[in-house]
Every structure is written in C-alpha cells, then in structure tokens.
C-alpha cells in the first residue's frame, strides 16, 4: 500500500538506492579485501595500488593448515621433486613444513582450534538460547517478586569488563579443573550470552498471546506440554534472531579464550592473529584463516536472515 508517490518521492527513492549501494560497498570493501587476500600470492598481499586482478592461489590455505618454518637452505631438487604438490607450494614460499620426530607432517593449530570454536560456540549458543528462552518465558508469564530488579541484575552481568572477572574466574576454574576445557569456555560464553538472551527473548515472549497456551491448558494439556507444543514454535523467529547474536559473540570472543584455554580447548580467534608472529606477517595466511572463520557465522546468519529481520522487528520494540 504505497502512499501516493510523486516524482520527487520517486527520485528520492532512487537516491536512497544509490546511497545504500555505496554504503554497502564501503562497508564490504575491507571484507572483500580480506577475502581476496586469502587467495593472493604472498608478494601481492600488500601492494599499493591493491592488486585486483591476480591468479588465485590456494597456497595460503595450505600454509594455514600446516606448521611451517623458514627455509634456511633451499630444498634439494630431489627433495622438491619428492614432495607432494601442496608441500611444493610451501617450498615455493620459502618455507618448509615442520615434521614430527617420526616424520609426520605437523598440522598447524588452525584445524583443531576451528573445531574447538565450533564445539564451544554451538554448545554455548544452544545453552544460552535454551536457558534464555525458558527464563524469559518464566518472567513473561509468571509473577516474579522483584522482577525488574532481577532483570536488571541479569543485564548487569553483561556490563563487566572481561578483565574484571578474568583473574577470579581463572583461579576458580583452576580449582574445579575447568580451565582449558571446552566446558569451561562453554559455561563462560553461556553466562555471558544468557543475559542478552533473556532480555531479547522476554520481548518475544511478551508478544506471544498467552491465550494460546491457555487454550491448550483448557484442552487438557499441562503447561509444560503447552510450552513445548505451542509457545516454542511461536517463538521460533525470536529464538533464531537471538541465536544469531549469541553465536556471533561466542564465535568471536577473544579475551577469555586467550586466558582460559591453552592447547586443548583454545578457539580460533586468539590463534589467527598469532600468525603474525614470525618476523614478517604473511597476510595471505591470516586472511585465509579469517576468511574461513567468517564463513560459518556468515552462512548461519544468511540462513536465518529472514528470522533475524522479522524477529528484531516484533520482539525488540516492546522490551
């Protein structure tokens, strides 16, 4: 139902389209640059003017997945010939693949940290959104003494600078053996996201007419059944929107991941920048790591985008 559109109105609209496109391009330029760098040969990574046309390479990804060190002497032609194609790419880059005492190729920390990220982010998102949904329902439907204070308390737990809790958290984790475990991070991220989740979900829950459950109650269902059969499906949009936010936060968290975990449970965010370490940064490898790491969130968000947009518009306004 468009209001009457005049010609000025129409040209304004065209202007808006152009504006949006320009802004989108500006916003995406750095990301495009990262993504393209992930496929560049090392010597084209930081050229000025930036290299736009180039032969895409896969070597950044090979390097990303292997442990390497600087070549001190060039490989012998035999060595070079005997090496598999991907190892030659590393040789070409003036590096060699580090092998273990038994001669096995050593993986870089990336794959395992990527897996850790997946485990930690998915589990904590499920937990935070799950608990958040339950709690939001509780606050939305039942009388709770000091509800406003409790909600503020829940929100306030997100205000702590991570540095504040890092030391006591670390000491506490040490006592209970949670440091450097997946569960340790999962709990932290869950706690961190829970406040947001409760807040957001409360908005959505308030929007779902309580008549739906009451009809089910009268029809002979228990409240639990009504909750699972009626409320949850209705809240799907809100849950999706909340999940996107929680996932993004957990996926990218840096400070706790750095302090609380070592080899076993560390996630990728602290790992990617560490690739700068060896005297001269190989931007192609960092870009490759960043690019791969962006994919899961981007895909997740893209799949849920309709929920995200719709969800934000009906739940959030009331909070």
């Amino acid at each position: 139902m468009a209001a009457v559109t005049t010609s000025t109105e129409r040209s304004l609209n065209k202007l808006a389209i152009v504006g949006v496109l320009i802004i989108t391009m500006i916003f995406l330029a750095p990301i495009y640059w990262i993504a393209s760098t992930a496929f560049k040969p090392r010597n084209l990574a930081t050229t000025i003017p930036p290299t736009v046309v180039f032969q895409p390479e896969i070597s950044p990804f090979v390097k990303l997945f292997t442990k390497r060190s600087q070549l001190r002497t060039a490989p012998t032609p035999e060595q070079y010939a005997a090496a598999p194609w991907w190892e030659r790419l590393v040789f070409d880059g003036g590096e060699k693949v580090v092998r273990s005492g038994r001669g096995e190729v050593q993986w870089s920390g990336y794959p395992s940290r990527f897996m850790n990220s997946l485990i930690v982010a998915i589990t904590s998102t499920v937990l935070a959104v799950g608990m958040g949904t339950f709690t939001a329902y509780g606050f939305s439907r039942f009388k709770v003494k000091g509800e406003q204070d409790l909600l503020f308390f829940i929100l306030s737990t997100r205000m702590l600078p991570p540095v504040v809790v890092a030391i006591p958290m670390f000491l506490m984790y040490r006592v209970v053996g949670l440091n450097d475990t997946h569960w340790g991070l999962i709990i932290l991220y869950t706690a961190f996201n829970l406040s947001f989740s409760v807040w957001l979900m409360k908005g959505f829950m308030d929007e779902i007419p309580k008549e739906y459950e009451e009809a089910a109650l009268v029809d002979g269902y228990t409240r639990m059944e009504a909750f699972f059969k009626i409320v949850l499906p209705e809240a799907a949009t809100g849950i999706a929107a909340t999940a996107v936010f929680c996932f993004i936060t957990a996926w990218n968290e840096y400070a706790f991941a750095l302090i609380m975990t070592n080899r076993r449970a560390q996630t990728a965010p602290p790992f990617i920048p560490s690739q700068v370490g060896s005297g001269l940064p190989d931007w192609t490898v960092i870009a490759a790591g960043t690019f791969l790491f962006l994919l899961p969130v981007a895909i997740f968000t893209f799949l849920l985008r309709n929920h995200l947009l719709r969800g934000m518009s009906f739940g959030a306004i009331r909070k």
């Binding site: 009268v218 029809d219 002979g220 228990t222 009626i230």
Partner: protein, 361 residues
C-alpha cells in the same frame, strides 16, 4: 453437562479489585450470558471457571464439587475466545484434533477423525480442513474455534466474546448458529459479551455484571422489562430506556426540574411509590409515542432512520428522550411534536439508590 456454582467469589489483582462477593448459579444445559461493559469482570469470572485464574476468596463448584485445586486441564471445560484460540501454524484439521490428543484423554485415531469430521460437518467447515488458519476469514476462524470446543464434548462451553470481532451480518448469522448448536448439544454454555443484543437473543438467562458485582440475573424478558436498577435499565436495550427524574403527585408523574407532567396510574404503581418521593421514571423508547393531542410538547433533536423504524431524540428543555416510531413517520429535525407514554410500561426507580421499586420490596 454440568451445573456450575460460584460462591462469594472475590478477586483482586494487586490493588485493583476485579470481583467482589460474586454469586452465580448456572444450571445444567443452560445458555447463560454474562453481560457487562469492558472491565466489569466478565472475563475474570470466566477464567476462574476455566481454572486459569484462582479466586482470592470464595469457591467454584462444578457439579457440586469444589474445584479449587483442579487445574484447567482437569475441569473439562472448553474455551472459545475472541481471538488467538487458534494456533497459527496449524491447519484447521490440526487445530480441531489438538484438544483430542493430550496425554490425559488421548483418543484413538479413528475416533479423533470421526469427531473432527462430525464437528466440521456441523459447522460447515469441511472444505477448510486442510487450510492453514491464517488463511481463513474472521467468520471461518470463529467457526473453527467453536469446532475446537465441540470436538471435545466438554462439560461446559465457555465463550469469551467470540463474536465481537466479526462484522454485523456475520454476528447475526453466528448468533443463531450458536443458539442452535447449544440446543442440539444440550450443553451448559457460559457466554460473555458486552453486546446486549447478543445477550438478549441468545441467553436462557442473563447475568448483568457491573464493577465486579452481579447486578441482576434473570431471563432476557425479565432483564428487559423489569431491570433491577437504573444501570441495567440503561445498559440493556437499544436505544436504552429513558430515565427521567421526577415524583408522583396525585397520580401524575411530575418531572422536576423539567416541569412537564404525564399521567401515571394503573399497573406500574407499586407500594413504595408514595407521593412526593424522589423517583426516576423509566420508559422504553418504544413505549413513548407521538400524538397530536398528547400532553407534552418537545422538539425533534435527532432522527435516526433504521429502516424498519425511526429513532427520534426528543428535546424537552435540557432533557433528551428517545422514542421509537414507525418508519413511515415523517419528522424533521427541530420540528415541534407532542408525545405521551404508555403508563403501564413505566418502571419506577428510587432516585437515591437507583433500585427498581418492585425489586426493593
């Protein structure tokens, strides 16, 4: 089928009192209408019977059993609401099946199908069964909601303004349908509405609720013709009963401070109607008539043409009086007319309390 009794029910929400000392008796198989304005406490009463709300004080009996500790599921009542009683994600069939599938009274599949089909037939919604509920019209939705209630064969049907979101034609049609349905099922119905036409046309009995109290319970006829107080008098009937301050002087109704008189004798007179007592005279618009030789002169303030009849608003001094006249009556606004009333139909109310003198005794 069930007999429902509410005894001395009070309900407060925080410092807001919704109901005070409510007593209600709904007979088995009765179509009971609870009539009141928005906020009078109708819905709260209904939710209390459904078990969705607990009374602050008092007891609810279903078939003589105190159901204080029964949850909504156990009371075996069905609920039809103005909106939201259908699940938007489900098809009509799924909606109709839903009440038949809880753990406590899960029916065999064949039986479920049978009941759903029968309900659909009764309500003429068979062609809608596979449609999603968000693609139904208002009337269809309300039929499905009613269907959801009847598949259960519950002891009591509770209906919370099920028709008020519909347009006039549909309301009229569904009114008859509902009444028919209730007669067929022989079930107890508690129907809540703010629309007095619905109350009058459907109810076996009507309870008028005002500010959390039952003001009057009775048949539509009683409520209409013998309202217990001025509130009921003005609430029931469209246009409402005319209420004029005055007193009786020597068998005549003397309207003060308006200074006009009308004859008053005969059947309407009751024991409390002593001369000089400040009264309120109530007269229905249809009992006010225009006559060239009638005792009082008025001006036509407004004319509403309803087709079958016209509703005139007459102005006498500052007072407004409604009169229903045949459609053929030809009057203009601001035209002077003379009117009289049918003294037998006059209802007398005490000026102070507003109580009908016949009830006061």
């Amino acid at each position: 089928m069930a007999h429902i009794q509410l005894k001395n029910i009070s309900k407060t929400f925080g410092n807001h009192t919704a109901l005070t000392g409510l007593n209600l008796d709904i007979g088995d198989g009765e179509f009971f209408v609870l009539l009141g304005e928005t906020g009078a406490g109708k819905t709260t009463t209904l939710r209390m019977i459904a078990g969705l709300e607990k009374p602050t004080e008092g007891q609810v009996f279903i078939d003589g059993v105190d159901v204080a500790n029964w949850g909504a599921a156990e009371r075996d009542v069905a609920l039809v609401l103005q909106q939201y009683s259908l699940y938007p994600r489900y098809t009509v069939r799924q909606n109709l099946e839903f009440p038949l599938k809880p753990k406590i009274r899960r029916l065999p599949d064949a039986e479920i199908k049978d009941r759903v089909d029968r309900a659909a037939r009764t309500l003429r919604i068979e062609h809608l069964l596979d449609r999603k509920t968000d693609r139904l019209s208002g009337g269809e939705m309300q039929r499905v909601s009613i269907g959801r209630a009847i598949v259960r064969k519950p002891r009591v049907f509770l209906m919370d303004e099920p028709l008020s979101a519909l347009d006039a034609k549909l309301r009229e049609a569904l009114r008859t349908e509902l009444k028919n349905l209730q007669m067929q099922l022989g079930a107890t119905f508690l129907f809540v509405t703010h629309d007095q036409i619905e109350a009058m046309s459907m109810g076996d009995k009507v309870g008028v609720l005002n500010h959390g109290r039952i003001v009057q319970t009775g048949t539509p006829y009683e409520i209409y013709n013998n309202p217990r107080d001025t509130y009921v008098a003005s609430f029931v009937g469209s246009p409402p009963m005319n209420l004029i301050d005055g007193k009786l002087v020597n068998g005549r109704a003397v309207m003060a401070p308006l200074n006009f008189e009308l004859p008053f004798e005969g059947r309407a007179k009751t024991s409390g109607a002593t001369d000089g007592r400040p009264l309120v005279f109530g007269i229905r618009p249809e009992d006010v008539y225009l006559e060239s030789g009638a005792p009082v002169e008025a001006r036509v303030h407004d004319v509403e043409n309803h087709g079958v009849e016209k509703i005139l608003t007459l102005r006498v001094g500052d007072a407004m009086l409604r009169a229903t006249v045949p459609a053929r009556t030809d009057v203009e606004i601001e035209q002077p007319v003379r009117f009289a009333w049918d003294p037998d139909k006059v209802v007398l109310f005490d000026k102070g309390s507003g109580i009908n003198l016949r009830h006061a005794g």
